[in-house]
C-alpha cells in the first residue's frame, strides 16, 4: 500500500513538467475507492497523498468534517468523503488515505484507498447519467471509461464548495447575536 502511495506521490511531483508537455486531449485522474465505488479526480487538484494521521475533532462542525490535521506545520481541515456522500462510515484501516487537494486552500479528503493515476481521453468520458432525484449529480464531471470499467469523475471544487464547515444548528446565530 505504502508503495502505491509513494509511487503516486512521485508522479505528482513530476507532473508539473509532464503536464505542460502533453497536449490537452484529456486529463489525468487519480482514482480511488469509496464504499466499493470507483471515483476519480483531476490530478491537477491533488497536492499529495498521506496516510491517516491524528485528526483533531472540531466542535460545532458538520458531520462530514473529520477535523484538523497537521500537514508539516500547516493546520488543514479534513473531510470524510463517505459521510459527505451519506455512505455508511467504517473504521479507518491501513488502506485509508487522505488525499490533500488544492481548491484555493488545502483540504484533506478521507477515502477508503487510492488506486492509481489514469490518463482518460475526453472521448472516453461520458456526461453524467440521469439517475433520478436520489443522486446528486452536480458533483459529477462525467463517467470515465478505463479498460472497460467506469470511474465516477468528481468535481472536487463542488464537493468541497460549502465555504462554511461550521454547523450552526447547535448555536442559533440569532440567539448569540442578541445581548442576553
Amino acid at each position: 500500500m505504502q508503495d502505491a502511495i509513494d509511487n503516486i506521490n512521485q508522479q505528482l511531483l513530476q507532473r508539473e513538467t509532464a503536464e505542460r508537455s502533453t497536449a490537452h486531449s484529456g486529463a489525468k485522474y487519480l482514482t480511488f475507492l469509496l464504499a466499493d465505488e470507483d471515483y476519480g479526480l483531476d490530478i491537477l487538484k491533488v497536492r499529495e497523498i498521506i496516510g491517516v494521521l491524528d485528526i483533531t475533532k472540531v466542535p460545532q462542525t458538520s458531520d462530514f468534517v473529520g477535523g484538523l490535521i497537521n500537514l508539516r506545520g500547516r493546520v488543514i481541515p479534513v473531510i470524510d468523503l463517505r459521510t459527505r456522500f451519506e455512505m455508511p462510515a467504517v473504521p479507518f484501516n491501513d488502506e485509508t488515505c487522505i488525499i490533500v487537494v488544492d481548491v484555493g486552500e488545502l483540504i484533506g479528503i478521507i477515502v477508503d484507498t487510492v488506486h492509481e493515476v489514469h490518463e482518460i481521453p475526453n472521448s472516453e468520458i461520458e456526461p453524467p447519467p440521469v439517475l433520478g432525484g436520489m443522486v446528486d449529480m452536480s458533483y459529477i464531471l462525467g463517467m470515465g471509461k478505463v479498460d472497460g470499467k467506469v470511474k465516477i469523475l468528481l468535481d472536487i471544487d463542488k464537493v468541497l464548495n460549502s465555504k462554511d464547515l461550521v454547523n450552526c444548528t447547535v448555536n442559533e446565530s440569532k440567539l448569540v447575536a442578541e445581548p442576553v
Partner: protein, 816 residues
C-alpha cells in the same frame, strides 16, 4: 610654443576626434572622457590653442556637463554640436600648425576638412543650444553651484519648456541663488496627481517618509533640549533632506518646496544666524504636521485610487510663511548651499534619490574596497545593472557641488536593514516550529538513547535548532523606542495646551516587541499618556501646595517580566481617588448604590465605557471615550492592563503584553480524548472544587462559590459535544476572565503549560464559537485554542436556550 605641449594638444584633439565619431547621448563614459579632454584643452597652460579655441573648449566643457547630467532636452542636437566643435577645433589646430608635419599626424579624416575655425559661429550655435535649456545656461555661465532642489526642479519638469521653468518652478533656485532681498515669486501649489506607474514607488516613499517624520520629531525635541548643539540640528536636517530628495525624484513638487523652505530655515539656525526658539520649534512641528496630512492624503489615494487630485493641506500658505520668516531677519551674507549635506558618497546620493537599494550600494562599495583595480562605485553599480548611467550622473551631481567646498564625512550611515514581507517571516517561523518538533521526535528515539555518540550529536543539533528558533522569532522584533519618542511630542503638546509643565522620562526604549504589537500599541499609549498629563498631573499651584515640584513628571518605561513585556506609564500627579470613582460610577449608572467595590475594582471603573474622571471636559481629553477602547485594544493584543495608584502620589498604568502575537503562553487542558489550549494570561487559577462550593440551578446550571464570588461553570465536554457531563468535584475548574466577568471552565485534566504558535483556521471555520485558532502541540497533533468570550456566548445559546440563558444572567451581575 613648446613641442610637447603642442603634442599633447594634438593628442587630446585626436582622441576627441575618435570619440566624437562614436559618441551618442547615452554614452556617458564617452561624454565624460570628452568632458575631461576639453577641460584639458581649455586649460590655458596648453598654448596649442588660440584664445578663441580655448573659449570654444570651455563652452564645450559646460555643454558636456549639462549633457551628462541629462539637462539638455535636445541631447541629440547637443551631441552633434559637440562633434562639430571637435571637427572645427581640429581643423583650426591643423591650420595653426600648417607647414609643420603635425597636421598629417592628426586624424586624417578630420584634419583634411578645410577651413579655419570660426569661433564666433560656434559660440552662436552654442548659445542657441543653451537658450533652449535656460537653467543650464544660468548654471554654466554663473558657475553657481546647483542646489539639490534645483536638481529636483529640473528633474520634475523635464518636458516643460524653458520659460515655464524660468517662472514659477524656479523659486528654489531663486531663493538659493539670489539670497538677497529680491522679490520672490508667490509659490503656487499644483494639483497632485499620481500616475498608475508611480503608485508602487510613491507608496514606498510615503512609508519611508513616515519614518523620517518620526525621526524629525525626535530630533526637534532634542534640538529644543539643547539648542546650541549643532549635531542636533544636523540630525534634524538629514530626514528633511532625504524627504526632499525622494519627493523630487517622484515629482511631488509641493513636498519638495516645503521641505526646502524648512531646510533653509534650519540652515539659518545651524549657522547661528537664527536662535532656536520655541516659535521655531513649533514652526518645524507645523511643517511636520502638514507633511503628515499630505502623506495621509497620498496614502489614502494609493489605497483607493481615483483620478481626482489629492486634497492638500495648506502648503502654499506654509511656504509663504516660511519664506517670510527666512527673508525677514536674514542677513544676505554667506547663505551658501548646504555643503555639509551635499558632500555625500555617490551611493548615498543614489539611495536617497531612490534609484538604488542600499544593499546594492553596500555590495558595490564592498567590491570597491576589495578590488585591486580602482573602480568607481557608480561604475560598479552600472555594471551590476541596478543603476542607469543617468541615475549615477544624477547621484554624482551633489558630489560635484560639494567638492568645491571642503568635504567632510557625512554622518549618515544609519541602521543597516532589509525590508522583508512579514508573511515570509511568518512562514519561516512556521517552518522552524516544525523543525523543533521534528527535532524533538528524533531526540526521543530509542536509538539515540542507546548510542552515546549519537546522543551527543542530537543534543548539539537540538541546541542549534533552538537558537534558530530564537533567531527567527527575533526577526519580527523591533524596539519600542520610536513609539516612545512620539509620546514625547504628545506630552509637550498636551502640556502646553492645558498650561501645565510636564516632563517625560523614558526608559527601556531598546526593549523589543513584535512589529504587530508595536503597531497596535500606539493608540492605547496615546490615550493613556494624554490622560496622565491632562488628568493625572495637577496644575503648578496645586502641586506646589501639595509640596511637590512645580513641574510634573510622566515616565514611560518598558521592560521584560516573566516572558512578557511590561509597559508602564507613571505620573507623579494626584493619583486616583477610589471614592470619587465609585461616586462617579453610581452617577453614570455603571454600578449600583451600595455595591461594595475593592480599590482595584474601583480603579477598573475607568475602563468602563462612558466613564470620565475629569471634573471638566477639556479639549484634550475627558470625553469618556478612550479608556474602554484602550482596554479593548490591549485585550486584542492578548495583553492586560493594571492600575496601581496612591492618592496624592500618582498612578501607574501597566500594560502587560506577550512578546509576540504569533506565539502565546498556553495551558493545555484535556477534555475526553481531545486537548485544548487556553491562554495563560486569561486564566486566574485552576482548582478542584469541593461539593459544598457548587450550587446547582434548576439542575441544569452550576455555580461555583469561590471565596465569596459566584462563578458560573461551563462544562466544556457537553458544550463541545465531546463527552458526558462530569462531576465538577472530580474535574478541574479553570477560572478564566473575559471582558464581562469570569467563568469556570470544567475540564478533565490540566496537562501543563506550553508556548504555542497560533495557526488561524481560515474562513471555513469562521463561525466557530469558543475556538479562536489552532496550534500544534508537542507531539505534532493539532490542539484547539479556546476563546473565553466565545465560550460564554456559546454557553448562553445552548439548548434549551431560555433556561440556560436565565441561569447565565445573574452571572454578570454577580461578578460585579
Amino acid at each position: 610654443m613648446s613641442e610637447n605641449v603642442t603634442d599633447s594638444a594634438k593628442t587630446y584633439l585626436s582622441e576627441l576626434g575618435n570619440l566624437s565619431k562614436t559618441v551618442d547621448r547615452d554614452d556617458l563614459p564617452g561624454l565624460a572622457k570628452m568632458h575631461e579632454l576639453f577641460g584639458s584643452l581649455a586649460n590655458s597652460e596648453i598654448a596649442g590653442l588660440s584664445a578663441d579655441g580655448q573659449k570654444v573648449a570651455r563652452e564645450m566643457v559646460g555643454m558636456l556637463e549639462a549633457l551628462i547630467l541629462g539637462e539638455i532636452d535636445d541631447a541629440n542636437r547637443a551631441v552633434q554640436q559637440v562633434q562639430e566643435a571637435v571637427g572645427n577645433l581640429t581643423s583650426a589646430f591643423g591650420v595653426a600648425m600648417s607647414g609643420s608635419d603635425a597636421a598629417q599626424d592628426a586624424d586624417a579624416s578630420v584634419a583634411n576638412e578645410s577651413g579655419a575655425i570660426d569661433s564666433d559661429e560656434i559660440a552662436q550655435q552654442l548659445d542657441k543650444v543653451f537658450e533652449e535649456t535656460e537653467p543650464v545656461a544660468e548654471f554654466s555661465n554663473d558657475a553657481t553651484p546647483l542646489s539639490e532642489s534645483e536638481f529636483a526642479e529640473t528633474q520634475s519638469a523635464p518636458e516643460e519648456t524653458a520659460d515655464v521653468m524660468a517662472t514659477e518652478s524656479q523659486f528654489a533656485e531663486m531663493t538659493e541663488a539670489s539670497d538677497n532681498a529680491e522679490p520672490q515669486e508667490q509659490y503656487v501649489s499644483e494639483p497632485l496627481i499620481i500616475s498608475k506607474d508611480e503608485i508602487d514607488m510613491v507608496a514606498g516613499f510615503v512609508e519611508e517618509a513616515g519614518e523620517h517624520l518620526d525621526a524629525i520629531e525626535a530630533a526637534v525635541l532634542e534640538v529644543e533640549r539643547s539648542p546650541s548643539d549643532p549635531e542636533a540640528i544636523d540630525s534634524l536636517f538629514r530626514p528633511f533632506h532625504t524627504i526632499k530628495g525622494a519627493a523630487g525624484f517622484l515629482n511631488l513638487r509641493d513636498i519638495v518646496s516645503l521641505t526646502h523652505e524648512a531646510e533653509t530655515l534650519l540652515d539659518q539656525a545651524r549657522k547661528g544666524s537664527r536662535k532656536v526658539t520655541h516659535g521655531l520649534i513649533d514652526l518645524v512641528f507645523e511643517v511636520v504636521d502638514i507633511l503628515k496630512v499630505q502623506f495621509d492624503g497620498i496614502r489614502g489615494h494609493l489605497t483607493n485610487p481615483t483620478s481626482d487630485p489629492i486634497p492638500q493641506p495648506p502648503i502654499e500658505s506654509m511656504i509663504a510663511n516660511l519664506r517670510d520668516v527666512v527673508a525677514g531677519r536674514i542677513e544676505p551674507v554667506g547663505n551658501e548651499p548646504t555643503a555639509g549635506d551635499a558632500i555625500k558618497k555617490i551611493g548615498e546620493n543614489l539611495v536617497e534619490q531612490g534609484s538604488v537599494p542600499q544593499e546594492a550600494v553596500d555590495f558595490a562599495v564592498d567590491c570597491q574596497s576589495r578590488s585591486t583595480k580602482p573602480t568607481k562605485v557608480g561604475e560598479k553599480l552600472i555594471e551590476m545593472g541596478v543603476a542607469s548611467h543617468k541615475q549615477v550622473s544624477q547621484g554624482l551631481r551633489p558630489q560635484a557641488m560639494g567638492n568645491a567646498a571642503q568635504a567632510k564625512p557625512s554622518a549618515a550611515g544609519g541602521d543597516q536593514s532589509v525590508r522583508i514581507d512579514t508573511a515570509k517571516l511568518d512562514a519561516l517561523v512556521d517552518m522552524v516550529g516544525e523543525l523543533v518538533i521534528a527535532q524533538t521526535q528524533v531526540s526521543a528515539s530509542p536509538h539515540v538513547a542507546s548510542d552515546p555518540k549519537l546522543a551527543k550529536d542530537v543534543t548539539r543539533s537540538t541546541k542549534i535548532v533552538r537558537d534558530v528558533q530564537d533567531a527567527a522569532m527575533a526577526m519580527r522584533m523591533i524596539p519600542i523606542g520610536p513609539t516612545f519618542q512620539k509620546m514625547a511630542r504628545l506630552v509637550r503638546d498636551v502640556a502646553r495646551k492645558v498650561g501645565k509643565n510636564v516632563e517625560l522620562t523614558i526608559s527601556g526604549e531598546d526593549t523589543e516587541l513584535d512589529k504587530n504589537v508595536i503597531q497596535q500599541i500606539g493608540d492605547p499609549l496615546v490615550h493613556m499618556v494624554r490622560n496622565a498629563v491632562d488628568h493625572g498631573i495637577e496644575s503648578a499651584e496645586a502641586r506646589l501646595a501639595a509640596g511637590k515640584t512645580a513641574s510634573g513628571n510622566v515616565s514611560l518605561s518598558a521592560f521584560h517580566s516573566g516572558g512578557n513585556i511590561v509597559i508602564e506609564i507613571t505620573d507623579d500627579g494626584k493619583g486616583l481617588n477610589p471614592e470619587a470613582l465609585i461616586r462617579k460610577g453610581i452617577e453614570k449608572g455603571i454600578i449600583n448604590e451600595g455595591d461594595q467595590l475593592t480599590e482595584e475594582q474601583a480603579f477598573d471603573l475607568i475602563f468602563a465605557p462612558g466613564f470620565s474622571t475629569a471634573e471638566q471636559v477639556t479639549g484634550v481629553s475627558g470625553r469618556g471615550v478612550g479608556m474602554d477602547v484602550v482596554r479593548r485594544n490591549i485585550e486584542n493584543l492578548k495583553g492586560k492592563c493594571e492600575i496601581t495608584s496612591t492618592a496624592g502620589k500618582g498612578s501607574t498604568f501597566s500594560i502587560r503584553l506577550p512578546l509576540t502575537l504569533a506565539i502565546i503562553d498556553g495551558m493545555v487542558l484535556r477534555v475526553g480524548t481531545e486537548r485544548f489550549i487556553i491562554q495563560t494570561v486569561t486564566v486566574e487559577n485552576a482548582l478542584r472544587p469541593t461539593a459544598d462550593q457548587i450550587t446547582s440551578v434548576q439542575r441544569k446550571g452550576l455555580v461555583l462559590n469561590a471565596r465569596g464570588r459566584l462563578i458560573p461553570l461551563v462544562p466544556l465536554g457537553p458544550l463541545f459535544d465531546f463527552g458526558q457531563e462530569i462531576d465538577p468535584c472530580e474535574a478541574i475548574v479553570v477560572i478564566a476572565q473575559y471582558e464581562g466577568g469570569e467563568i469556570g471552565i470544567v475540564v478533565d485534566e490540566l496537562i501543563g503549560q506550553q508556548q504555542v504558535v497560533i495557526k488561524p483556521l481560515g474562513e471555513r471555520f469562521q463561525k466557530l464559537r469558543g475556538i479562536s485558532g489552532a496550534a500544534i502541540l508537542g507531539d505534532g497533533k493539532v490542539g484547539l485554542i479556546l476563546d473565553v468570550s466565545g465560550i460564554v456566548a456559546a454557553h448562553q445559546s445552548m439548548k434549551p436556550c431560555s433556561e440556560t440563558a436565565k441561569s447565565g444572567q445573574p452571572v454578570v451581575a454577580g461578578s460585579e
